[in-house]
Amino acid sequence: MQTRLTVNGEEAALDLDPRTTLLDALRHHLKLTGTKKGCDHGQCGACTVIVNGRRINSCLTLACMHDGDAVTTIEGLGTPGDLSALQQAFVDHDGYQCGYCTPGQICSATAMLAEARDGWPSVVTDDLTGAPALSREEISERMSGNLCRCAAYSNIVDAISEVAE
């Protein structure tokens, strides 16, 4: 399958077996190994990337379904010399131990903050018709699709809270 993707602002043309997930296209074909494969079944969130502005599990979608789409990975959010606000906050708050879930956590949190700015409610939002404030409880609920095997959750919430303010 001929598939065109715009990844972190750069055009990529790939010829892929239809079975290739977006995750495998990024890691094995484009050599963008920042995005991690954890469970490969949509349960852990390590593979989270942002497609056309929305966070998704890249393991549970086929690359060919995204012909023409714009993908942002952890490599597109910042660089070692120019970290994004969330990347810097994860460093400052020690929001990781082994670091394997971190790219997915940061991609997920980046898009989650945009969802909150757009007024999306969550299941712990008291007033569905109001504008949600990002309490710790709200952040935990909205980030529940990203598991941290080291359980650095409290520091992850600290990092996201700082950027949310």
């Binding site: 949509g42 929305r54 549970l60 979608t61 086929l62 409610p121 569905l128 609920e141 909205r142 529940s144």
Partner: protein, 329 residues
Amino acid sequence: MRPFDYTRAESVSAAAGQAADGATIIAGGTNLLDLMKLQVETPGQLVDINRLPLAEIEETDDGGLRIGALVTNSDLAAHPRIRSDYPVLSRALLAGASGQLRNKATTGGNLCQRTRCGYFYDTAMPCNKREPGSGCYAIDGFNRIHAILGASEHCIATHPSDMAVAMRALDAEVEIERAGGDTLTVPAKYFHRLPHDTPQQDTVLEPGDVITAVTLPRPPSGEQRYRKVRDRASYAFALVSVAAVVDVRDGKIASAALAFGGLAHAPWRDERVEEALVGEAPSAALFDKAADVLLKDARGYGHNDFKIPLARRALAATLIDICSMGDEA
């Protein structure tokens, strides 16, 4: 994953035609691709319908809403009219899955998702749903998440959706286009099947049927709640869930619609429960009587015995919550 051919549908009728010839339709794909990786599903051809114009939410002439089949769970949960007029649906959607999954999962796909029974997922095990006639190991096996109502000797699986439970309480209808161009509308009541002796059929959909939309009638009067009981605080399937639409007037229950998740092969609604409540003043004794009606034929299979008292308490807690709010309003 087994090899497959991939095509992108040019129209609903083209997708229906290909599906009638044996192709499998893919929308969000969050459940289907998971099952394909495990070779529980092995389609030879995938038809991608994601670019079809089915992602709109429109007002209907009678004051309801028509939700396109490709509206994502995220967009539906965040829609202003759903949040204000159908909060039970917004809450049910937000109680399901994760933010990432809700961004991909669609309205039509959510209705078509398969059970999370461990035996269905394990191709080394017999399963009448996956391989008709091979047997059901859940009945005498690990059945903590399984059905207590409406099961059969062939299958005790549950339907995993939260969204469908809310839609059942709201009397939603499913719009379908058939191969050949016929269209039909199926009330939520009839869309999901009980297992009987054909558990391989989750719904009344036939090969070549494409869900095009779900319609909601005008917003019901009264208060709405979705209560979900699960093993984790977030991102877990329901052990028991209750979608409730209850109107309390002059101290009495004027109307009630109650649908349950986690109890059966389909979202479970028993009108006799609602009849037991209507016309009566809310009380603990009344709610207990309603639970007696709901659970009269309930049967546990060992690990899931706890669901019988849990369903009773979830119903009571939901009604206590919704009726006191109704009194204040």
